[in-house]
Amino acid sequence: MAQVQRLAILGDEAVALAVKQSNVDVIAAYPITPQTIIVEKLSEYVANGELDAAFIQAESEHSALSVCVGAGLAGARVYTSTCSQGLALMHEIVYAASSMRVPMVMTIVNRSLNAPLNIHCEHGDVMAERDSGWVHLFATSVQEAYDLTFIAFKLSEHPDVLLPVSVNMDAFILSHSIEPLTPISDEDAAKFLPPKKYEYEIDFDNPMTYGTMALPDTYMEFKMQLKEAVENAEKVFADVVEEYAKISGRKYWYFNSYMADDADALVIVLGSTYGTLKTAAKKLREEGLKVGVLGLTMFRPFPEKQLVEVLRNVKAVIVMDRAYSYGGLGGPLYSDVVATLYRNGIRIPAKNVVYGLGGRDFKLDEAEAVLRMAAQGAREGGFDTHVQWWGVKA
C-alpha cells in the first residue's frame, strides 16, 4: 500500500480519477444535460494526454452505450456514465449489455425522471433498470464512489461474472459536493486492475456470431445463464473487496452498518442518506435508544443471506426508498426487504418511508424522527401504516 496525498475533491472528479487510474481503453458518452462533470473531466484527461484512451462522443445515450457494447466485445475496458433521462434513453442497450455479457462500468448519478422536469437526486432512474441483469452498487460517500469504481471493474471482468456493473451515486449530494478523498496510488491501481482479459473478445481469425437470435426453445436457457452470472457476483464480491482492502486499507461489505449488531430498531437505506441517519443514530444512542442503520452497497444481486443475519436480531425495521413503484406495495428496496423477512420466517413489523423524490432535502432532524419512529415500532410491536410518503404536504 503506497502512501498517497489526501485530497479535497468534487464527487464527479473523484470518479473520473478512479476511471483514469483504472486504465480504461474506451469512454463513450453523450455530453448534454443530464450528463455530469465525470465525462467532462475524462475528456480533459484524454485531450491533455494523461489518459491513453479513445473518448467517443456519441450522438445520444442510446448510441453511447451501444459503442460501449461493441468496444467491450472487442476486448477494450470500457466506461460510461449517465443520469435520469440519459439512462432511460439507454434502456434498450442496458439489457443488451448484460444479456450479451459485456463487462463494463457505468456510473449512474441518480436523478429523477421527467415529468415534471427536475434534475435532482432520486433513485427512480436506476430502479427502472433494476431487472436488467446488471450488478448495481451504491455509494454512500465520495470516497465510496471512488473505491467502488475499481471494485466494479474487477467484479465486472471476473470470469464467473462477465457483466456490466453500475456504480450509483446521489446527484448533487455526492456528485457536486467536495469531500475528502484518500486515493490509491497508480501502482496499486494497476496491480489491482491488470489489463482486461476477455475470453470472448472479437478475433478476426476465429470469428464468432454475437447477438444471435434465440427462439422459445433456447431463450430461457440463455436467461438462466444470466441469472446465474448475476448471482455469482454475490460470491465474487467478497473476494474482490478483500483484495481491494489489501491495497487501500478500506474494507467494503455488502452493506455499511452502524450500530446494527445490538439494535432493536433498524433503518435500511441506499445512498448518501446513510450518512445522515448515522449521525442521527449516534445522537439517539446517547439517549439510550437502541437504533441502528444499514446502507446497502450491493443492491443487485440482493444480499439476502447477509441481511438476514442482521434482521434476525431486530424487533422492527424501516426501509427508506428514494423511488417508488406506483400502484405497487411500496418502494423497490422495501419490497425486497419484506420478501427477505417473509421467506426467512422473520415476523417483525416493517414500514416503508418514501422520501427525497426530485431532490427534496432529507435533513438531520428528519433522520432523527425516522429513527425515533423505528424505535417506537420496535417498542410497540407495530407501525401505524405500511407506506408513508415523508414530508408530503397533504
Binding site: M208, T212, E221, F222, Q225
Partner: protein, 102 residues
C-alpha cells in the same frame, strides 16, 4: 463443435443452460444454413415446367432465395428453406406455380 452438431443438439433439445454457448455467442458460425426452415411450410410451390416461360419473376421475388435458377434459366424450388409464403405463385404471370402440400 461444428455448426451442424450444434444445430442438431438444439433441434433435439439435447442441451442444458450450462452446455449452450455463453450468451448465444456462436463459436462456429454460420449456423443459419443448418436450420432447415422448410419445416415451417404448410403448402409449397409446385412448378409446371410446361407452362414456365423462364421470366424469373419468382426467382427475383422469393424472400428466402428458395427458388434455384438453373443454367438455362429454368427454375426449381429449394424445399429445405421454402417456408411456403406463396409469393412466387402470386407473381407468376402464366400461373405455372400452384401451392400444394409438398
Amino acid at each position: 463443435m461444428s455448426a451442424k452438431e450444434l444445430v442438431k443438439k438444439a433441434e433435439k433439445g439435447d442441451f442444458t443452460y450450462k452446455t449452450l454457448p455463453m450468451a448465444a455467442m456462436i463459436p462456429c458460425p454460420p449456423t443459419s444454413p443448418e436450420y432447415k426452415t422448410g419445416t415451417w411450410r404448410v403448402t409449397g410451390p409446385v412448378i409446371d415446367q410446361n407452362k414456365c416461360i423462364k421470366c424469373l419473376l419468382c426467382w427475383v421475388y422469393c424472400p428466402d432465395m428458395a427458388i434455384i435458377r438453373e443454367e438455362d434459366d429454368s427454375v426449381k424450388v429449394d424445399y429445405d428453406y421454402c417456408k411456403g409464403c406463396g409469393i412466387c405463385s402470386t407473381v407468376c404471370p402464366v400461373k405455372a406455380i400452384s401451392m400444394e402440400e409438398v
